[in-house]
C-alpha cells in the first residue's frame, strides 16, 4: 500500500483539467462553489432518493464522486440522511410503492431545501409512462426546482444542472416552497 501511495504522490491527479468536457466542468464547478457559498454559507449536502429508477441514474450519480469529477472539491457531498440534506436528488418514475417513502423523505428534510429530479423517468415516466404501478413525474408528488434530463444524464450533465438550479434560486433569493 505504501508503494502505491508513494507512486500516486508523484503522478498527476486524474481530476480533470485535460480530458474531454473538462473545461466546462471546471468552470461550472467553480461557479457552483461560489453560488453555494453565497446561498448556504458552506456546502451543499445532497440526499439521493431512488423513487423507482432502473438504477442507471444512480450509477452516473455515483460517478460524480470518482476522481475525474470529484464533486467534493466544489463543496458538494452526499449525505446519509435527509435530515442532513439541503437538496434531494430524486430519480425514477415514482412508483406507487415508493410514493410514501419519497413524501416522508421530503418531509424529513429541513428547509431551506431544493429538489432536483434526475433522468427522463423523473421528468415524466420515460418508457414507464401509463403504468398502473407508477404515479408519474416527481413533481406530481413533491415540488421540484429543476429537472436534469437524460437516460441517464452524464456526470457532466448532472453537475451543470445543479449549477443551473443554484444560479436561478439565488436570483430570486429563496425558492417558493420554503417553510
Amino acid at each position: 500500500m505504501r508503494r502505491r501511495l508513494f507512486k500516486n504522490l508523484f503522478t498527476a491527479p486524474c481530476t480533470e483539467p485535460v480530458a474531454e468536457g473538462a473545461a466546462a466542468l471546471d468552470a461550472a464547478g467553480t461557479q457552483l462553489r461560489g453560488v453555494i457559498a453565497r446561498t448556504l454559507g458552506r456546502s451543499l449536502a445532497i440526499r439521493e432518493v431512488d423513487a423507482g429508477s432502473c438504477n442507471a441514474c444512480e450509477l452516473e450519480i455515483h460517478a460524480l464522486s470518482n476522481a475525474f469529477y470529484d464533486v467534493e472539491r466544489f463543496g458538494i457531498r452526499f449525505v446519509a440522511s435527509p435530515r442532513h440534506a439541503d437538496l434531494l436528488l430524486v430519480t425514477g418514475p415514482v412508483t406507487h410503492n415508493m410514493r410514501e417513502a419519497l413524501e416522508r423523505t421530503y418531509a424529513a428534510t429541513p428547509a431551506p431545501k431544493w429538489v432536483v429530479a434526475v433522468g427522463d423517468c423523473s421528468a415524466g415516466c420515460g418508457v414507464f409512462a401509463h403504468s398502473y404501478a407508477c404515479v408519474g413525474a416527481v413533481s406530481k408528488v413533491i415540488p421540484v426546482d429543476l429537472v436534469i434530463r437524460g437516460c441517464p444524464p452524464t456526470p457532466t450533465d448532472l453537475l451543470q444542472g445543479l449549477l443551473g438550479l443554484l444560479n436561478s434560486s439565488t436570483a430570486v433569493g429563496v425558492n417558493s416552497h420554503q417553510s
Binding site: R4, A56, E60, N66, F68, P82, M98, V127, C134
Partner: protein, 503 residues
C-alpha cells in the same frame, strides 16, 4: 431426468430455442420432486393468463426446457412446496395474475404493497385496488433480541428496499427482505408493444445490466422469429457485454472494499471504471451502451476510433489492475473483513441455482457462456473461475479473475471482428403466435428472457427474469451469524438488483 419427465410428450411447435412442454398436475409434481432432489435447477417461473410457465435446467446433460401448466379455476399447484427458490416467484405471479398456488407455504403478498389503483394487474379481468394486510415479518424468538428496520430509503446512493434485521447484540439472527418498492409494472407495459418499443423497456429493467437485458431480449425475439442476426452484430453484442461486465465488476470490487472503510481501493477502481465507461461512450455513443443491442442486430457499429479507444482502455486496465489486486491481497486489515464473512454454502448455492459470481464463489460451476454457449462464445470460449470458499473474499476474487478473462477475450475478439452489416430488418408480422426464449450471462448472472409475439407483431407476453430473484434469498442466509456491521460488505458482494427483481 428431463427425458424421463417429458420424453413421451411432444413440444409446442411455436416455441423456439429450447422445447416447451405442457404438463399436467401429475407431471408438475414430478418437476417439483426433481427440483427437490437437486436433479434439476429452476431458472424461472412466471404467470400468464390461464397458465404458469417455468424454465428448467438439467446440470447433468446441460439441457433446458420450458414447462407450462394450465391454471384451472384460478388455481395451479405450487412448486414452492418442493423447492423453496420458487416461493417468491409464485408469490409474485399470485400478485400479478391472481393465481392461487395450491400448497404455497408462504401466501403473503410480495410485489403488491396494496398501493396500486388495481389489483392482479395482469389478470383478465383485473380486481379493483384494495389495501393488502400489513406485512407480517417472520418472527425470531429468544432472549434479548431486537429488531433493526432499514429502508426502503437507504443511507447510500442505492436502490430502495426494506431490510428487517433481528439481532442479538451485534450478531444477526435473522434478516428478512421486503422488496417490490421499485415495481414499475414492466410485464404489463410490454404487452401490446412492438418488439422495437419493447426493446427500449427491456433495456431499462436494470440499468447496470442494460446490455445484458437487451442482449437477452433480442435473442428471445430472434429465436421466436427464427432469425439469424448478422455475424458482425453477434460479435459486437459480446464486446458490449464484456465491457459492461468489466465496468460493473470494477465498480463492485471498489464498493465492497469501501464498505470495509478501505476507500483507496474504491478510488482506484472508480478511475478504472470511468475509463471503461468513457471508452464505451467513444465506441458505441453511450456510456452504459443503452439501446445499442436491438432485435435484428446492433444499433451502433464500431469504427476504428472506437476500437482504438477500447484497446487503449484495456491496456491501461492491464497495466494498473495488477497493482490493485496486489493491494487487495496484501492488506491484512481488509482481508480481515472479507475472509470468512457472509458464507454461502455450496449446498444452498446449488439449491438456488445461484447465478453469476455468487454461484461461482460457492462451487457452482455455471456460466451461461459455457454451460449453454451462445454465439459468439460458442466459437471462442471464455474462461471462468470457480471457488469454493463462498465468502466475500471469494466473490471478490471471482470478479477479479473475470475482469482479466473478459479483457483477454475482448482483445482477441477485437482483432478478428467479422465485417458486414450490423443490423438486418426483422419481420415480426406472423400468421400465429410465436414464442422464443434466451438465457444470457450478465455481470450478475444469467438473465432469462421469454417472449410470445402475436400475429400483428405485438408482444403478447414477455417475461424477463433477473438473476437477483435467486440471489436475494441467499443474502438472507449469508448474513446469518455475522455482525450487523458486516451487512454492507455482504450486500455489496452480492450486489443484487432491486429494479430487476421488482420489475
Amino acid at each position: 431426468m428431463l427425458k424421463a419427465l417429458f420424453g413421451d410428450l411432444s413440444a409446442a411447435p411455436t416455441h423456439h430455442r429450447w422445447p416447451r412442454f405442457t404438463a399436467d398436475s401429475e407431471r408438475w409434481r414430478g418437476i417439483g420432486e426433481a427440483l427437490r432432489e437437486g436433479k434439476l435447477d429452476l431458472l424461472g417461473l412466471w404467470g400468464d393468463v390461464g397458465a404458469v410457465h417455468c424454465v428448467l435446467f438439467e446440470p447433468a446433460t446441460r439441457n433446458v426446457v420450458s414447462a407450462s401448466i394450465e391454471v384451472i379455476a384460478g388455481k395451479a399447484p405450487s412448486l414452492a412446496v418442493f423447492h423453496a427458490p420458487a416461493s417468491r416467484l409464485e408469490r409474485a405471479a399470485a400478485d400479478l395474475f391472481g393465481i392461487e398456488f395450491v400448497g404455497l407455504p408462504d401466501p403473503r403478498a410480495w410485489i403488491d404493497h396494496g398501493r396500486w389503483p388495481i389489483r392482479t394487474p395482469l389478470a383478465q379481468p383485473q380486481l379493483p385496488g384494495a389495501p393488502v394486510p400489513p406485512y407480517r415479518f417472520l418472527e425470531a424468538q429468544g432472549p434479548s433480541l431486537h429488531q433493526i428496520p432499514v429502508g426502503p430509503v437507504h443511507a447510500g446512493i442505492i436502490e430502495p428496499g426494506h431490510f428487517r434485521f433481528t439481532a442479538s447484540g451485534e450478531t444477526v439472527v435473522r434478516l428478512e427482505e421486503r422488496l417490490g418498492y421499485t415495481h414499475k409494472g414492466i410485464d404489463k407495459l410490454l404487452e401490446g408493444k412492438s418488439t422495437e418499443d419493447a426493446a427500449r423497456i427491456a433495456a431499462r429493467v436494470s440499468g447496470d445490466s442494460t446490455v445484458a437485458y437487451s442482449f437477452s431480449f433480442a435473442r428471445a425475439v430472434e429465436a421466436a422469429l427464427e432469425f439469424q442476426p448478422p455475424p458482425r452484430a453477434v460479435w459486437l453484442r459480446a464486446v458490449m457485454a464484456e465491457l459492461e461486465r468489466i465496468a460493473n465488476h470494477l465498480g463492485d470490487i471498489g464498493a465492497i472494499c469501501n464498505d470495509a472503510a478501505f476507500s483507496m481501493m474504491h478510488a482506484e477502481c472508480g478511475i478504472l471504471r470511468e475509463l471503461v465507461l468513457r471508452a464505451c461512450a467513444v465506441a458505441f455513443g453511450h456510456r452504459l451502451m443503452m439501446d445499442r443491442i436491438v432485435p435484428g442486430g446492433v444499433a451502433a457499429d464500431l469504427d476504428a476510433v472506437g476500437r482504438e479507444a477500447i484497446l487503449r482502455m484495456t491496456r491501461r486496465v492491464q497495466s494498473q489492475f495488477p497493482e490493485l489486486i496486489e493491494l487487495y491481497d496484501n492488506t491484512a486489515s481488509l482481508q480481515d473483513r472479507t475472509v470468512g464473512t457472509g458464507v454461502v454454502s455450496a449446498a444452498l448455492a446449488a439449491q438456488f441455482a445461484a447465478p453469476g459470481v455468487v454461484g461461482r464463489a460457492s462451487a457452482r460451476s455455471f456460466d451461461t457462456r459455457l454451460a449453454l454457449p451462445y454465439a459468439p462464445y460458442d466459437a471462442v470460449p471464455i474462461d471462468i473461475t470457480v471457488r469454493s470458499e463462498g465468502d466475500v473474499d471469494a466473490r471478490i476474487w471471482v470478479r477479479i479473475q473475470e475482469i482479466l478473462f473478459s479483457i483477454a477475450w475482448l482483445e482477441a475478439a477485437l482483432s478478428s471482428l467479422p465485417g458486414g452489416p450490423v443490423r438486418l430488418p426483422v419481420n415480426t408480422a406472423t400468421r400465429a403466435s410465436i414464442e422464443g426464449s434466451a438465457l444470457v450471462e450478465g455481470f450478475r448472472g444469467d438473465i432469462l428472457a421469454s417472449v410470445r409475439i402475436g400475429p400483428a407483431g405485438r408482444i403478447e407476453r414477455c417475461h424477463l427474469r433477473d438473476p437477483s430473484w435467486f440471489l436475494w434469498p441467499l443474502l438472507e442466509a449469508a448474513i446469518e451469524g455475522n455482525i450487523v456491521a458486516d451487512f454492507p460488505l455482504c450486500n455489496k458482494s452480492f450486489n443484487c438488483s432491486y429494479s430487476g427483481h421488482d420489475l
